[in-house]
């Protein structure tokens, strides 16, 4: 008798590993833009995160007595790790990245049984846990124009060099929010955007090009059928719709949809995070609901809430709803659409 015993005996040439690999590849344009515009420190973070993820994965697999090699090489932990690294400030101390990654892999992923079984998006759990725990570190983004050599960046990450004040230049979103809050209505968005150096043509010098990189990668994933269009489109729709309404109502106090679309984690979220198949909705209508509400909540948190960006929390909040969404949006099956 042969090794297999179940039909079908023909299998398409696909695998989880290849899926994850393609996601990693799709992240490359964004990473390239990141390195080009913000600095190579992100590469160090990516390496740290990857190593931490593999370590956490290996330890948990060992403890749970699951095949090590098979799951270490499936690439899912690396995808999570990269997304964490990209979501964290590039000059975070190394241990922050490690804590985040381990939290994601150990608690959010393996306590639920590992690959495919986690109800929450591990990367976003890591982000949320860290911004709640270390709000100061998590909102210290390098000021643009901060020219640091790779060695200096490395030293800061490793904790060898002191963290410098200039590093706490806020991200466009954070800066906008703080400015508006301080101004108490005296400041308006257009002048802000025009005057501060963080803000570029439409969303912040540099950051928008990173977003464009993510957009390209995402489109490629869609073309490769790794992701479907529903969630990203609905996410972007939810975000821009709210942004557009408020912007139209009061352009002095609310930034344009374009700004929101290209700042913060919007596009990384739209193409790589809300699309996480494991923790996201799976039905056609479910994906639309999931994406739309995630986008809307992200906007509300970012504009009215306590955190500079809302994508992570929005995704987690929608993760919570996934079982119910899926349950109530089951598509009609063959022959049940219009029962004659």
């Amino acid at each position: 008798m042969m090794a297999w015993s179940t039909p079908p005996y023909l299998l398409a040439d696909v695998s989880v590993r290849r899926v994850m690999l393609q996601v990693l590849v799709a992240l490359l344009p964004g990473i390239a833009a990141y390195v080009w515009l913000i600095g190579p420190s992100i590469l160090v973070q990516l390496v740290i995160a990857t190593l931490a993820a593999l370590l956490g994965e290996a330890v948990m697999l060992r403890l749970r007595r699951r095949p090590l090699l098979l799951f270490l090489t499936d690439g899912s932990a690396i995808v999570s790790a990269w997304l964490i690294a990209l979501a964290f400030p590039p000059l975070s101390p190394w241990w922050l990245t490690v804590v985040g990654v381990l939290f994601a892999i150990v608690i959010a992923k393996h306590l639920y049984g590992g690959l495919g079984q986690n109800p929450f998006n591990p990367a976003m759990i890591a982000f949320a846990a860290c911004i709640v725990s270390f709000p100061a570190l998590m909102s210290q983004w390098p000021a643009l124009g901060l020219k640091l050599s790779l060695a200096e960046q490395f030293e800061i990450i490793a904790g060898l060099a002191p963290r410098i004040d200039a590093m706490s230049g806020a991200t466009p979103l954070d800066a906008l929010k703080t400015a508006l809050k301080l101004g108490e209505g005296a400041v308006d968005v257009p002048t802000l955007l025009a005057n501060q150096d963080v803000f570029g043509n439409f969303a912040g010098r540099g950051w928008e090009w990173v977003s464009v990189g993510y957009l390209l990668g995402g489109l490629w994933l869609w073309q490769r059928k790794i992701i479907t269009w529903q969630t990203p489109v609905a996410f972007v729709g939810g975000l821009t719709l709210l942004a557009a309404i408020l912007w139209a109502w009061n352009p002095q106090q609310f930034a344009s949809p374009l700004f929101h679309l290209f700042s913060g984690g919007s596009l990384l979220g739209a193409f790589f995070i809300v699309t996480d198949p494991v923790s996201g909705s799976t039905t056609f209508r479910g994906k639309l609901i999931f994406g739309f509400l995630a986008g809307a909540i992200a906007y509300v948190i970012r504009v009215f809430g306590g955190y500079p960006d809302g994508v992570a929390f929005a995704v987690l909040l929608m993760n919570l709803c996934v079982p119910l969404i899926d349950m109530y949006t089951q598509p009609p099956i063959f022959g049940m659409k219009n029962p004659k």
């Binding site: 095949p67 804590v99 608690i107 306590l111 049984g113 846990a129 709640v132 725990s133 270390f134 570190l137």
Partner: protein, 232 residues
């Protein structure tokens, strides 16, 4: 009166086997809400122990006088009265702590474990047993609260016994981890409380499974709700 066996059974149940927090999963609100440090947890537990022990005795003594239809309101009445007394005492003697514990002292009334013990034990047993049950259930709660509080404090800020000065004005908290430990704030917040309690429950399951594997004659491996045979 009470036999040694009975006593040790009540003790084991209260402290470990039927531990309110780890096994019965009752009385969670104070368990999670006030355990930002050891001191809060211990003090609230002490209040609960007092209430539970006296309520148990009261109910066990009066159990034959209470008509079935209104037993719940009467039990609650008894518990609520005791809680209010404790509340007044805390207010008078440990005012600062009283402010910290906030509504969780009056909420001992609705602490499920109190009513659960009254219903399930005191209502069916004589006063002495009921008293022991109240005390040991309470101590079972105390050590879990203290443990959880300690963990949260330590992970969250690297200290232990913070707030001790509210109870013993002369004492100072311990700083266990180096002063530049950044502190995983999450542990002090509700999510950390939930997650750490989950880990404690898992720890207890693990201890039990190991004990069961060592002693023969008892199987306590929880039967898997879902198969995991696919990854041998």
């Amino acid at each position: 009166m009470i036999s040694r066996d009975e006593l040790s059974e009540i003790r084991d149940n209260g402290l470990w086997k039927q531990n309110s927090s780890l096994v019965q999963i009752l009385g969670l609100c104070p368990l999670l809400a006030v355990t930002t440090n050891v001191v809060n947890g211990v003090m609230l537990s002490l209040a609960t122990i007092i209430v539970m022990a006296i309520a148990n005795v009261a109910v066990a003594s009066l159990r034959n006088l209470i008509p079935h239809e209104i037993r719940i309101p009467v039990f609650i009445l008894i518990v609520a009265a005791l809680v209010t007394v404790v509340d007044l005492l805390f207010n008078a003697q440990l005012h600062e702590l009283y402010l910290v514990l906030g509504i969780f002292i009056p909420l001992i009334v609705t602490n499920c474990i109190v009513l659960a013990r009254v219903e399930a034990f005191a209502n069916k047993n004589p006063p002495l047993q009921a008293a022991f049950d109240g005390v040991f259930m309470g101590v079972g709660m105390l050590w879990t609260l203290a443990l959880l509080g300690g963990l949260r404090e330590l992970i969250g800020g690297g200290t232990l016994f913070s707030g001790i000065d509210m109870v013993f004005p002369g004492l100072q908290p311990l700083q266990l981890l180096p002063a530049d430990y950044p502190g995983l704030l999450l542990a002090m917040l509700p999510p950390g409380a939930f997650i750490l309690l989950g880990c404690l429950i898992a720890w207890k399951n693990w201890v039990e499974a190991r004990a069961a594997a060592r002693h023969s004659g008892q199987r306590s491996l929880p039967t898997p709700p879902a198969p995991l045979t696919d990854h041998a």
